[in-house]
C-alpha cells in the first residue's frame, strides 16, 4: 500500500472558483507528478517535479499551476475552474532509484458546473 494521499476525493464546484487539489506522500520520494484522466481513458501528464522548488509542465496543456515547497507536498491549483476541467486528477510519486515505478494516489474526481 503506497503512502500517498489526495484530498478531496470528490469535488463539485461552480465555474470561476479557485480550487487547490492536495497531494502528500510520506515516502520521501523526490519525484512527484499530476496526471489527468477521463473515464476509461489514458493518463495525461500535466505537471511534474523532481525536487523542492523544481516544477515542469507536462504534455497536456493545462491552466493549472503547481508548487513544490516541501518534498512531501505537491498541490495543484486552478485559478478559475471551467466545465472543461471536469476530470479525474491523479497524483503520483517516485524515486530515482525505482525508475518509472510510480505510486499513485486514489485521485480527485473534479466536477465543474
Amino acid at each position: 500500500e503506497a503512502d500517498i494521499y489526495q484530498t478531496p476525493r470528490y469535488l463539485v464546484i461552480g465555474t470561476g472558483k479557485k480550487i487547490t487539489l492536495e497531494c502528500s506522500q510520506t515516502m520521501g520520494h523526490d519525484k512527484m507528478y499530476w496526471y489527468q484522466q477521463d473515464p476509461g481513458m489514458e493518463l495525461h501528464l500535466i505537471h511534474y517535479s523532481y525536487g523542492v522548488n523544481s516544477t515542469e509542465k507536462g504534455d497536456l496543456s493545462s491552466e493549472s499551476t503547481v508548487s513544490r515547497i516541501r518534498t512531501e507536498h505537491f498541490p495543484l491549483t486552478l485559478e478559475s475552474a471551467r466545465p472543461s476541467h471536469t476530470s479525474q486528477y491523479l497524483c503520483a510519486s517516485g524515486y530515482r532509484g525505482l525508475g518509472e515505478k510510480l505510486f499513485f494516489g486514489s485521485g480527485t474526481q473534479l466536477s465543474v458546473l
Binding site: E42, L43, F104
Partner: protein
C-alpha cells in the same frame, strides 16, 4: 504522431484461464515499457516493467513479452483470478530523447468470469 495503444478495449476471461493483454507502440526509439493495473476507484498500481534489451520478463503470475520488430508488447496473467479484474495500461518511454515522461496507452478492461 507517436502513440501507445491497445488492440482490445475489453477482455473477458474465465477464472483460472490465462489472460493476454496486448499493446502496440509506434515509437521505435522507445526503450522502456511498463504495465499498470487500475482497479475501479483507485489509482494505477505498478505491475511489471521491461527494458528494450530484454524480450521477456517474469513476475509473480505475470509475464511481459516485448517484440521490438513489430513494436508489440503483451502482458500475460497466469491463472486469472477475480482480483485481476481491472483496467490495464501499458506505457512507454524514450530515455534517449532525454524525456522523463511516460506515454500511456488507452487501457484494456479485463473482466474475470467466476
Amino acid at each position: 504522431g507517436e502513440s501507445v495503444g491497445l488492440h482490445l478495449p475489453t477482455l473477458s476471461v474465465q477464472e483460472g484461464d490465462n489472460s493476454i493483454i496486448n499493446c502496440a507502440y509506434s515509437n521505435s526509439a522507445s526503450d522502456y515499457f511498463i504495465w499498470y493495473k487500475q482497479e475501479s476507484g483507485k489509482g494505477p498500481q505498478f505491475i511489471i516493467d521491461i527494458r528494450s534489451n530484454m524480450d521477456k520478463r517474469q513476475g509473480q503470475r505475470v509475464t511481459v513479452l516485448l517484440n521490438k520488430t513489430v513494436k508489440h508488447l503483451s502482458l500475460q496473467i497466469a491463472a486469472t483470478q477475480p482480483g485481476d479484474s481491472a483496467v490495464y495500461f501499458c506505457a512507454e518511454k524514450n530515455s534517449g530523447a532525454g524525456s522523463y515522461q511516460l506515454t500511456f496507452g488507452k487501457g484494456t478492461k479485463l473482466s474475470v468470469i467466476p
